[in-house]
Amino acid sequence: MTEQATSLPLFPALASRLMQPLPLFPLRLAAQKVVDSLAARHPGLFARLGDQASKTFLLDPTDLPFAFILRPRPDKPAIDVVKRGEAVAWEAHIAGPFAALLGMLHGTMDGDALFFSRDIIIEGDTEAVLALRNALDDAEIDLLGEITASLGPLGPWLEKPLRSLTPVAERLTGVALTRARAEPSDA
């Protein structure tokens, strides 16, 4: 049996290596902007976390040279970007190929199934991991939409051309770049 029961696309090692020396500062800024926008657009996401919102999560795309530290405090959610191998404190750790993490975020992949197949690894506070997984699943996040929303007035101008490219990019990479359900949720 191979290590991965499902064949998830991996981020190309060469590309990952080329990204290693890049400064993290711009990425940090961008990530925080997206999280701020998320918090504004999905207030229910943080309410759903309940007590678990006080935990610190290490979100670890194993095929990228960096990882994310998420502190999903309802009043001021924060995200940080750290280099792979850098010592950081966390309470809950979710690790797996970037494609798996994006697939979970976009509702195209089932977190339990990825866990059964050992494609993702979880460590630490299992309750916190479950809460975050369930809250994100309910929020029906579309990362592309969140990114364009975080760009402010420029966003809508960029969204359409980006969306027209994603089906091609998804076919090429096998990665879910947008949410599974296209229509907005009507609560």
Partner: protein, 326 residues
């Protein structure tokens, strides 16, 4: 046509299930009143109200599971859950506790009452008891019965039956298991969670993975082996000369191929387990089973299984429906 009853742990999953072809969706409130009281899961009153409106607009029904056993001295939380389910227009409540059945029958006689699998009514006499005493309209059968036994039961009862066809498999009579409570102090019957995440720790051991529940190591798998749910009854133990899965292998139930026989046995509804799973699971499983139910209604063969990846341990079983399981 057989009715397909589908799980929703979140409002998003409810909408996904409706879109994927569910005839009915079951869900619960975000507290100890239901048997999937997991972190980040379940519905507020407002969310249930919107969910019911969404489902009704598309011809689907919403069933509310209030299937734990109220704590002595504090029945208010459970009574309010029934009152609110009735007020918000739930099609039925799914109950297990005798006291709650009596409460619902008295206070909300018009609200349909289903007997939860957590009541483990495993024969026609027990079912008739609940029908006569509390006006139960449907019983969810425990997963300890064979198809033949289900057929026998249906001949001797006057209410509808609902059976599980996919998902996590309890090997013990449901609602009669305190294994989890013994290991963690959190009781499935009282707190609504089996093998609660708060007491589960996964530990990477080199290439291997160990799962601990409370103070007990219940599973250890090597490199490349499928990881199981950390449920006690799927754990690895030793007993006498035997070492392995003493109670049950880490498998999920998949009874898709038994749909024609279950229909012949007089079953009204098919139930999918998994309120704790993602909407990706809901989408895939509901769509596959709706196709299977439609195929059966048209007299066509049931499509072959496509859901292997979503099963625990990536393996499936027909469970107790086949007598050899015992």
């Amino acid at each position: 046509m057989l009715e397909l009853v589908c799980p929703a742990g979140t409002p998003a999953a409810l909408r996904t299930a409706v879109d994927a072809g569910a005839h009915a969706i079951y869900c619960g409130f975000a507290d100890e009143t239901n048997a999937r009281n997991f972190p980040g899961l379940n519905f507020s009153r407002d969310e249930l109200k919107s969910g019911i409106a969404h489902a009704q607009a598309r011809g689907a029904r919403v069933l509310v599971a209030i299937n734990t056993f109220p704590r002595a001295g504090e029945p208010g939380l459970w009574h309010r859950a029934i009152d609110d389910a009735a007020r918000l227009g739930a099609h039925a409540v799914i109950l297990a506790d005798i006291g709650l059945l009596a409460y619902a029958a008295e206070k909300h006689p018009a609200l349909r009452r289903h007997l939860s699998v957590q009541a483990a009514a495993s024969n026609a006499d027990a079912i008739n008891f609940y029908v006569h005493e509390f006006g139960v309209k449907r019983v969810v059968l425990p997963r300890v019965l064979s198809v033949e036994e289900i057929a026998t039961i249906n001949r001797d009862i006057s209410c509808e039956t609902e059976v599980f066809v996919f998902g996590g498999l309890c090997v013990m009579a449901e609602g009669r298991c305190s294994l989890s409570s013994y290991a963690t102090g959190k009781s499935p019957n009282m707190n609504g969670a089996c093998s609660p995440a708060s007491h589960v720790v996964y530990k990477q051991e080199g290439d291997g993975l160990a799962a601990r529940l409370g103070d007990f190591t219940i599973q250890r798998v090597g490199k490349g082996e499928a990881a199981p749910y950390p449920t006690l009854c799927k754990g690895c133990f030793s007993a006498g000369d035997y070492e392995g899965h003493v109670f049950e292998d880490p498998v999920s139930l998949d009874a898709a191929q038994l749909i024609p026989r279950l229909a012949e046995a007089g079953v009204t509804a098919l139930k999918i387990e998994g309120r704790q799973r993602s909407r990706a699971y809901t989408e895939a499983v509901v769509r596959a089973f709706r196709a299977a139910v439609d195929a059966h209604a048209r007299g066509l063969p049931i499509p072959a299984g496509v859901l292997q990846n979503l099963t625990e341990g990536q393996r499936s079983t027909a469970g107790a429906y086949k007598k050899s399981w015992r």
